[in-house]
C-alpha cells in the first residue's frame, strides 16, 4: 500500500501502467467467463429470464472483444471511473446520512471537505495501481436493464473519460453531477468543464448529494457492466491479493432458509497456535488460474469486495471472535489451518432486499455474506446470522476492518453443511478517527435533532439513514460481542472519569440496551412521544443514587464564611456545599481549600456523555499472535467512541461548561436555604463588573449566558433575585436577617407592588439591596403582563419590572415548580435574566425524567437546553426503555452541576450528616384475651373458608371486597372487638363496600355464639350471696373500704371503684391483682391470695359497684372478668408507668381506626384522673382550624400533666411536626411500612432532642403478625409509587394469600 501514500499520480503514469498491463493475453479467460455466464443463467432461470441473460452474454462478449485486448497481468486492472462510480454509489448509500443531514440543516460543506474529497480521488487512482481491491455492485435485476441503458451508459462513459482526460483530478461524484447536468446537451463536455472550473467546489459538493438520488444507482450499475463489466467480474480481493475467482460451487438455494440452521453463538477465543503457511503480506501471487474453477462468474457480479480505503494509515486491533461457520461449498481436501479467509459482501438485489420499504428487516443478512478462501479463491461458507448482522453493515466501510483465518475444519474435507471455525479479527481503522471531532459533535447532534423533526412529520427513513442506523447497531453489537466495554472505572489516576461514569449504577435494563434488535427502534422513535414516561421508584432511586457520588462530595473542601458577613454557624456538609457552590460560580478565590487538589469540575470541561471511553485491547489478532507481526501500535491507551453516531476519537471529547450556578438538591431539612444565603453573602456582587464599567458595557462577554435582547437590560450587578413560593416569602426574609451579619447588606421584598421601580432601586443607587425576594406569582404576573398583552412594544414597557434587569444571580427555591416547561410560571422564570443561576429543590425529579429538562433549560446548560438534544439523547432512549443509556446521559449532564446530599449520607468521618437522637422501635407482642381469642377464631374460620373457596374457584378477585371485609374484621378484633361493624377509612379498596362492613346482624350472631360457649367457673347464686355478705360486713359497715391499701403496689388508699376483692376477703387494685394472676399463670404457679395464700380463682372475684347516687355506699358484685382488650390493657399499663416515671410526658398514639381512637379516648380518660392526663384527638374529622388548635395545645409542655395525642395514621401521617413528643404507640400495623415510618418520622425528625421510643402493639398468632411479614416483604421489594390499579390489586391478592397460608 505504499502507493497510497503518494498524493498525486499523473495521468501519464496511469497511461503508462495501462500500457504495461496490455501485454497480457487473456482471450481464454474471457471465453471462460462467457461460458460461466451461460451456465449460471441456466441454473438460475427463474431469477434471470433467458432472453435477457443471453443479451448479457452477447454484450459481454462484445465488450470483451472491444475492450479486453489489454488484459492486465494480474487481472486486476481497474478503471478509475468505475472505481469512482462504485465508491460514489456506496457513499451515497453508506454515508448519505451525514451528507443529507448537513444538507438538511443547510450547513455548507466547506471547501476543505471538498478538497479532501478531491485528494481522495488521487488516492483512489493510486489505489488502482497499487493492485488493491475493488468492489462492484450489480444485482441480477439491474443486469436486465443494462441493454436498455446501454446507449446511455456508453455515452456517459465517453463523457466521463473525456472530462477525466481534461481534468485528471476530478472527483467522480463531481463527474456524475456534471454529467447529470450537462450530459444531454450538445456541447456537454465543454459546458461541464466550464461549469466545473467556474462553480465553487461547494456547490458541486452539495449538488452531488442533491443530484444523486438513489433511483439512479441501478442504471449506473448497469452502465458499469456494459462498459467495464468484464474487468469487474474479475475483480479481486481485498486482502492485498489478487486471485482468480472461485466459482466451482453450485448455485445457492434460498440462502435465507439455510441461514437459520446455523445460528450458533460465536465465541471469543485466542488459542490454537500452529503456524500459518503463508503470512498475510507475503502470500505468493496466486498463480493458479485454474480456469476450470471459474464458472458462474455471474454470481460474483453481485459481489462487493471488501477493501481498505487507500488513505488508510493504520488499523488497530479491537477484538477477535471465533465464529462457527456453515460450509456452503465442498472442498476436495481440508482447508489448512491458518488459511487466510475473507469475508465478501454481496449486494442484495431489489427483490431480495434486506429491508423492506418500512425499514423492517426482511431477509437474513447471512445470505449476503460469504466466506471466501483467499488462497483458493473460492467460496467456503456462510457466517451465522448474528455475526452477519454485525459484519454486513460494516463490511465495505472503512470504519472497521475484518480479517478472517481458518482455525478448525476437523482436518478433513468440508462437505456442504459442515461447520468450521474461523477466527475473525476486528480492527478499527485510522479512517474512523479522521473526522474532525469538534465539528462532528455539533453537526452530528444537530443532524440528529433535525432527523427527529423529520420523523415527526411522518417521513420514513431513507435508505441512507437506514444504513447508518444499521451500521450503528452493528457497531454496538460488535463492541458487545467482542466484549469491548466502555471503561467505567478507569484507573484512579484519571479521576475525572471515575466521577462521571458511575460504577455503581443500577443496571436497569442492560439486556435491552445491549441487545436491541435492529428492527426495534426503527419506527418507535417518532411514535412514543405521548407514551407514559413516568419513572418508577427504582429508576428514581437509581438516579438519586448516582447523583450522589459520595466520594467527591466527601472530599469537598470546607469553606467557612467570615463572621463579618455571615452570622450563623454552618454545619460541615453545608460548608462543603458552599465550597461547591463557589466553585460552580468560579469564585475560586473564596474557596478555602484544605489540600490543593484541582477539581476537574472547576475546569469547566466535562466529558461529553455520549462518548464512551475504551481501552485499546491487547492485540490478539492472528497476524500478531501467530505471525508475530508488529502491528501499527500507537501510543494511545484509550480511544473514545460515540456509539450513538458511530464516531471515534483518540482525544477526549469534552463539553465546555460555562454555566455559573447549578442545582442544589440536598434532601429536605439539610439547610439548602442556609447554604444559599451563605453563598449570597459570600459573593454578594459581581466583582468583575467594576472593571467592565469602565468600558460602559453591561454585558459580560466572558459569561455570555444571556440571549441577545438581554444584553439591553441594565445589569444589576449587586443584586441576587430569589424567587420563592408565596408561603416561604417571610421565612426567607427572616432567615436572611438571621444570617446576615453585615449592616451593609440589605434585602428587599418585591411583592405586592411595594417597589415602584426596581431599576431605580438597583441601578441608580449607590447601595442597592443585595437580595430581592419575590414570589413565583409576581414573576408570572409580570411576565404575563409584558409578554401577552403588549407584546409588540414590550421593550418599551419593560422599564421597571423584573424583566427590565439583568440580575447578578437568580435563585429559585423549590425549583421543581418550573418542571413543566409549558406552564406560564416556567416560561416566566425562563424569561428572567441573570449571570448566575441557582435552583434549590429537594426533589429534582417528581416523577419523570423530563422534569429535569426545565432545570437544565433554566441553567442554560448547553447543549442540553436545546430540546432536540434532550429528546434525542434522553427522552427518546428512555421511552424506548433504554433506561440505562438515558440515565447515564442524564447523570453525566447533571453530575457537575447538581449537588445532592441526603440525611443518610455520612461525612468523611463516617458520621451522618444530620445526627438525630437514637430511635428505638419495639414490637410488643400481646396475647388475645380469652374473649378476643374466641371471637377471633370464629371470624378467622369464616374468612379462611371464604378465601379458600375463592382460591379454589379462581375468582378471588371477584370476592375481593368480601375478603377485604373479612380481613378488616380480623384486624379490628385485634384492637377491640367493639370496633366490628365500623369503617376503615384508610382502605380505599373498601370505600364502596359499606354494606358488607356494616353487616351488623352477621357480626352479632357470631358474637353471641362465642358468648354462649364461654365456660363458667363462677359463683353460684348462693355462694355469691355469702361472699358479698361477709365482704359487706368487713368493708362497708365500718367504711374501711375507703382506706384500703393494696398489698401489691402499696397504693393507699385504693380507689374503691378500682378495687378487687378475693373470696377470702382481701382487697387489691384491679390491675395489680389481675397482673398477679396473669403472672402466676404464665409461670405455671398456683393462684393464691397474696395476702393469705388461700387459693383464689379469677372467675370468683368481687368488685365494688358505685350506685348512681354518690352519697350511697357502693355494693359488692361479682367481678366479670371480661378483660379489657389486650392492646388497651397494654397501652394503659405503658401510660401508667410513663406517668409514674415522668408525669409531664407527651405521648402520641397512632391508630388507623378513628372509632378506635374514640374508644381509647374514653378508656384512657377513665383510667387516669383528669388532672393527670390531657387527651387530644386528631383525625380526619377535625377541621383545619381545630387541627391547628389541637396541635398547639398538645405542643405546650406541662410538667405535671401527661398529654396524649390520639392520631389517626392517615390524617396525621404527613407534614406534622411532633418533636415535642418522644414516645409513640402504634396500636395497629398498616399494610405499608413506609406509611408507618412516615408516622414515626413525625416524631423522629430534626428538632427532636431526646431518644425516641416507639412501641408497636402486635397480637401474637393473629393476622397482625402476618401483616408484619407483608411489611417486611414490601420493604424488600420496594413499593412502586405509581403502580397502577391492576398491579396494586394483584399484589394485594398475593398478600391475601400470605395472610391465609
Amino acid at each position: 500500500m505504499t502507493e497510497s501514500s503518494q498524493p498525486e499520480i499523473s495521468q501519464d503514469q496511469i497511461k503508462g501502467l495501462l500500457q504495461k498491463t496490455s501485454e497480457l493475453p487473456l482471450e481464454g479467460e474471457k471465453k471462460l467467463i462467457v461460458k460461466q455466464l451461460k451456465e449460471s443463467t441456466q441454473m438460475s432461470a427463474d431469477e434471470l429470464p433467458v432472453n435477457s441473460s443471453t443479451e448479457i452474454i452477447q454484450d459481454l462478449s462484445q465488450h470483451s472483444n472491444e475492450e479486453f485486448n489489454n488484459e492486465p497481468v494480474d487481472r486486476k486492472i481497474e478503471d478509475p471511473i468505475q472505481e469512482q462510480l462504485q465508491s460514489s454509489q456506496e457513499e451515497s448509500k453508506n454515508t448519505t446520512q451525514d451528507h443529507s443531514q448537513r444538507f438538511l440543516t443547510g450547513e455548507p460543506i466547506d471547501r476543505n471537505t471538498i478538497l479532501t474529497k478531491l485528494k481522495g480521488l488521487h488516492n483512489d487512482c493510486s489505489f488502482l495501481f497499487a493492485a488493491n481491491k475493488l468492489g462492484l455492485k450489480l444485482s441480477e435485476d439491474e443486469a436486465k436493464e443494462e441493454n436498455i441503458d446501454e446507449y446511455l451508459n456508453a455515452k456517459r462513459n465517453d463523457f466521463f473519460k473525456t472530462i477525466k482526460s481534461v481534468i485528471p483530478s476530478i472527483d467522480n461524484k463531481a463527474l456524475e453531477y456534471l454529467y447529470v447536468k450537462h450530459g444531454n446537451k450538445e456541447d456537454s463536455i465543454e459546458q461541464a468543464i466550464l461549469d466545473f472550473s467556474n462553480t465553487s467546489s461547494d456547490s458541486i459538493a452539495q449538488g452531488k448529494d442533491d443530484s444523486f438520488p438513489l433511483v439512479e444507482t441501478s442504471s449506473m450499475k448497469a452502465h458499469l457492466i456494459t462498459d467495464n463489466g468484464f474487468k469487474s467480474t474479475l475483480l479481486v480481493d481485498t486482502n492485498k491479493k489478487n486471485f482468480p475467482i472461485d466459482t466451482s460451487s453450485p448455485k445457492h438455494s434460498n440462502p435465507a432458509t439455510r441461514s437459520s440452521s446455523f445460528q450458533s453463538p460465536s465465541q471469543l477465543s485466542f488459542n490454537k497456535p500452529p503456524l500459518r503457511p503463508n503470512s498475510q503480506n507475503n502470500l505468493p501471487l496466486s498463480n493458479s488460474p485454474a480456469s476450470s474453477q471459474r464458472k458462474r462468474t455471474k454470481e460474483y457480479l453481485n459481489r462487493d469486495y471488501k477493501r481498505l480505503k487507500p488513505d488508510l494509515q493504520w488499523k488497530r486491533f479491537i477484538g477477535a471472535l471465533q465464529v462457527n461457520a456453515l460450509a456452503t461449498r465442498p472442498t476436495s481436501k481440508p482447508v489448512e489451518y491458518g488459511s487466510q479467509l475473507s469475508l465478501v459482501k454481496s449486494i442484495p438485489s431489489k427483490n431480495k432486499r434486506i429491508f423492506d420499504s418500512s425499514g423492517k428487516r426482511k431477509n437474513a443478512m447471512s445470505s449476503f455474506i460469504r466466506i471466501m478462501d483467499t488462497k483458493a479463491n473460492r467460496e467456503l461458507g456462510r457466517v451465522p446470522e448474528d455475526i452477519a448482522r454485525i459484519v454486513f453493515p460494516l463490511l465495505g466501510d472503512s470504519i472497521v476492518d475484518f480479517e478472517a483465518t481458518m482455525v478448525f475444519c476437523n482436518n478433513r474435507r468440508i462437505s456442504i453443511g459442515d461447520t468450521f471455525v474461523f477466527q475473525l479479527d476486528c480492527f478499527l481503522t485510522s479512517k474512523s478517527f479522521e473526522d474532525d471531532e469538534e465539528s462532528t459533535l455539533s453537526q452530528g447532534m444537530k443532524g440528529l435533532g433535525e432527523k427527529n423533526s423529520t420523523f415527526n412529520k411522518g417521513m420514513t427513513e431513507t435508505d441512507s439513514e437506514l444504513h447508518s442506523r444499521t451500521q450503528r447497531m452493528a457497531l454496538l453489537n460488535l463492541f458487545d460481542i467482542i466484549s469491548l466495554q466502555p471503561i467505567l472505572d478507569e484507573s484512579k489516576a484519571l479521576q475525572e472519569n471515575a466521577t462521571q461514569k458511575m460504577p455503581d449504577f443500577i443496571d436497569l435494563e442492560d439486556e435491552n440496551y445491549n441487545k436491541i434488535d435492529i428492527t426495534d427502534d426503527s419506527t418507535s422513535i417518532p411514535s412514543t412521544q405521548h407514551q407514559e414516561d413516568a419513572m418508577d421508584l427504582n429508576q428514581i432511586q437509581s438516579f438519586y443514587k448516582a447523583a450522589q457520588s459520595l466520594e467527591s462530595i466527601q472530599n469537598l473542601p470546607e469553606t467557612t464564611p467570615s463572621k463579618d458577613i455571615f452570622s450563623l454557624d454552618l454545619r460541615r456538609y453545608q460548608k462543603q456545599g458552599l465550597s461547591w457552590m463557589l466553585r460552580r460560580e468560579r469564585e475560586f478565590s473564596k474557596v478555602q481549600t484544605n489540600n490543593d487538589k484541582t477539581d476537574p469540575v472547576s475546569e469547566g470541561s466535562i466529558t461529553n456523555p455520549l462518548w464512551k471511553q475504551f481501552k485499546w485491547p491487547k492485540d490478539m489478532s492472528w497476524a500478531t499472535q501467530k505471525l508475530s507481526e508488529i502491528s501499527t501500535d500507537l501510543d494511545d491507551i484509550f480511544f473514545y467512541a460515540n456509539l450513538h453516531t458511530g464516531k471515534f476519537s483518540l482525544d477526549k471529547p469534552v463539553i465546555k461548561s460555562m454555566v455559573r450556578g447549578g442545582i442544589l438538591s440536598d434532601e429536605m431539612g439539610l439547610g439548602k436555604t442556609i447554604s444559599t444565603l451563605a453563598l449570597i453573602l459570600s459573593v454578594p456582587e459581581d466583582t468583575s463588573i467594576v472593571d467592565k464599567k469602565l468600558f460602559e458595557t453591561s454585558n459580560d462577554l466572558v459569561i455570555d449566558l444571556s440571549k441577545p435582547e438581554d444584553a439591553k437590560r441594565p445589569y444589576a450587578s449587586k443584586t441576587t433575585l430569589i424567587v420563592v413560593p408565596m408561603s416561604l416569602l417571610n421565612q426567607w426574609s427572616e432567615e436572611f436577617v438571621k444570617a446576615n451579619a453585615s449592616s451593609e447588606v440589605t434585602h428587599e421584598l418585591y411583592y405586592g407592588g411595594n417597589v415602584s421601580s426596581l431599576k431605580k432601586l438597583l441601578i441608580n443607587n449607590n447601595k442597592p439591596p443585595s437580595v430581592i425576594i419575590t414570589t413565583y406569582g409576581v414573576v408570572q404576573s409580570e411576565w404575563t403582563k409584558i409578554f401577552k398583552e403588549t407584546s409588540p412594544h414590550y421593550q418599551v414597557e419593560v422599564s421597571t419590572g423584573l424583566y427590565s434587569l439583568d440580575f447578578f444571580r437568580i435563585v429559585i427555591d423549590e425549583g421543581h415548580t418550573i418542571r413543566n416547561r409549558t406552564t406560564a410560571t416556567s416560561k416566566a422564570i425562563m424569561g428572567l435574566s441573570s449571570k448566575r443561576k441557582w435552583i434549590l429543590t429537594g426533589t429534582p425529579i417528581i416523577n419523570r425524567l423530563d422534569d429535569l429538562y426545565s432545570l437544565v433549560k433554566f441553567l442554560n446548560l448547553e447543549p442540553w437546553s436545546q430540546v432536540n438534544y434532550w429528546k434525542t439523547f434522553i427522552s427518546n432512549p428512555f421511552e424506548n426503555k433504554q433506561f440505562k443509556q438515558a440515565l447515564d446521559v442524564v447523570n453525566s449532564i447533571l453530575d457537575p452541576v447538581l449537588l445532592r446530599r441526603t440525611k443518610q449520607m455520612k461525612d468523611i468521618d463516617g458520621k451522618h450528616l444530620v445526627e438525630l437522637p437514637p430511635k428505638e422501635v419495639i414490637v410488643e407482642k400481646l396475647e388475645f384475651t380469652n374473649k378476643q381469642n374466641k371471637v377471633y377464631k370464629q371470624f378467622l374460620d369464616k374468612a379462611e373458608l371464604s378465601v379458600k373457596s375463592g382460591l379454589a374457584r379462581g375468582d378471588l378477585l371477584k370476592q375481593y371486597s368480601t375478603i377485604l371485609v373479612h380481613i378488616l374484621r380480623l384486624r379490628q378484633i385485634c384492637c377491640d372487638e367493639s370496633l366490628l361493624g365500623t369503617q376503615d377509612e384508610n382502605d380505599e379498596d373498601l370505600k364502596n363496600s359499606n354494606k358488607l362492613v356494616n353487616n351488623k346482624s352477621e357480626i352479632e350472631s357470631i358474637l353471641k355464639k362465642t358468648e354462649d360457649k364461654q365456660p363458667n367457673n363462677s359463683f353460684t347464686e348462693s355462694e355469691l350471696q355469702l361472699v358479698t355478705q361477709s365482704l359487706t360486713e368487713r368493708f362497708l359497715k365500718n367504711n374501711s373500704y375507703k382506706n384500703m391499701e393494696c398489698p401489691i403496689c402499696t397504693t393507699d388508699p385504693i380507689d374503691f371503684t378500682d378495687s378487687l376483692f378475693t373470696e377470702c376477703g382481701h382487697a387489691f387494685c384491679k390491675s395489680c391483682l389481675e397482673d398477679y394472676l396473669k403472672f402466676q399463670s404464665e409461670k405455671g404457679r398456683d393462684h393464691n391470695c397474696p395476702t393469705c395464700r388461700k387459693e383464689i380463682d379469677s372467675d370468683r372475684l368481687i368488685t365494688l359497684q358505685c350506685n348512681s347516687e354518690i352519697t350511697e355506699k357502693p355494693n359488692f358484685i361479682h367481678y366479670d372478668n371480661n378483660h379489657k382488650p389486650a392492646k388497651l390493657n397494654a397501652l394503659l399499663k405503658h401510660l401508667h408507668v410513663l406517668k409514674d416515671c415522668s408525669p409531664g410526658e407527651q405521648v402520641v398514639v397512632f391508630s388507623q381506626f378513628s372509632s378506635y381512637l374514640d374508644i381509647l379516648e374514653n378508656e384512657i380518660g377513665n383510667s387516669f384522673k383528669d388532672e393527670d392526663v390531657e387527651i387530644f384527638k386528631f383525625d380526619g374529622r377535625l377541621s383545619l382550624k381545630d387541627r391547628h388548635i389541637v396541635l398547639q395545645n398538645f405542643g405546650k409542655k406541662n410538667l405535671n400533666k401527661m398529654k396524649v395525642l390520639l392520631l389517626s395514621l392517615k390524617a396525621g401521617g404527613v407534614g406534622l411536626n411532633l418533636t415535642v413528643a418522644s414516645h409513640a404507640y402504634m396500636m395497629d400495623p398498616w399494610w405499608s411500612p413506609s406509611l408507618e415510618d412516615q408516622a414515626i418520622d413525625r416524631i423522629h425528625r430534626i428538632g427532636q432532642t431526646t431518644n425516641v421510643k416507639v412501641v408497636r402493639f402486635i397480637i401474637k398468632d393473629s393476622i397482625e403478625e402476618k401483616i408484619l411479614r407483608i411489611q417486611e416483604r414490601k420493604r424488600r421489594i420496594g413499593e412502586a409509587m405509581d403502580a397502577d390499579e391492576d398491579e396494586r390489586r394483584k399484589r394485594r391478592i398475593e398478600e391475601i394469600q400470605m395472610l391465609f397460608e
Binding site: 398489698p1047 401489691i1048 402499696t1050 398477679y1076 391470695c1089 397474696p1090 395464700r1093 409514674d1140
Partner: protein
C-alpha cells in the same frame, strides 16, 4: 427498666424513714433496685452481737417475683451456704407480692434465731448441727466473732 415502680420507691422511703430495729437497708445510688443490707444477730442466738452484711436485689418482676437476697458475711448456719445463699420459703415458692423487703429481712433475721437443720442448704453444717448442736453453735459463735463483729 428505666423507671422504678412506685412501690419500690415507697418501700425504700419507708425502710429509711422507719427502719426495722436491727436491720438497715440502703439502696445503691446507681441502681435503686440494689440494696446493701445489714442484719444484727438476734439476741440469745449463736449470732448475737454479730452484724451480718447482705445484698438484696429487686428483679424486674418484683413484686411479682421475690427479691434476691444473699449473705456477704461468712456465717455458720445450716440454711445458709458458703456462698451466702439462703434457704427460706418466702424467698422461693412461698413468695407473695404482698410481702415486702422489710418482711423478707425480718424473716431472715428470724431464720438466724431459729436455724432449721432439717431443711438444710449447707449439708455439712446441718449434719454438724444435728450431731453436735453445742459444738455447732460454738462454731457459729466463733465465726460470728471472727467475721461479723461490729466494727
Amino acid at each position: 427498666m428505666a423507671s422504678l415502680p412506685k412501690r419500690i420507691i415507697k418501700e425504700t422511703e419507708r425502710l429509711i424513714s422507719d427502719p426495722v430495729p436491727g436491720i438497715t437497708a440502703q439502696p445503691h445510688e446507681d441502681n435503686l433496685r440494689y440494696f446493701s443490707v445489714t442484719i444484727e444477730g438476734p439476741k440469745d442466738s449463736a449470732y448475737e452481737n454479730g452484724v451480718f452484711e447482705l445484698e438484696l436485689f429487686l428483679p424486674d418482676d418484683y413484686p411479682m417475683e421475690a427479691p434476691k437476697v444473699r449473705f456477704l458475711t461468712k456465717i455458720y448456719h445450716p440454711n445458709i451456704d458458703r456462698l451466702g445463699r439462703i434457704c427460706l420459703d418466702v424467698l422461693k415458692n412461698n413468695w407473695s407480692p404482698a410481702l415486702q423487703i422489710r418482711t423478707v429481712l425480718l424473716s431472715i433475721q428470724a431464720l438466724l434465731a431459729s436455724p432449721n437443720p432439717n431443711d438444710p442448704l449447707a449439708n455439712d453444717v446441718a449434719e454438724d448441727w444435728i450431731k453436735n448442736e453445742k459444738g455447732a453453735i460454738a462454731k457459729a459463735k466463733e465465726w460470728t466473732k471472727l467475721y461479723a463483729s461490729k466494727k
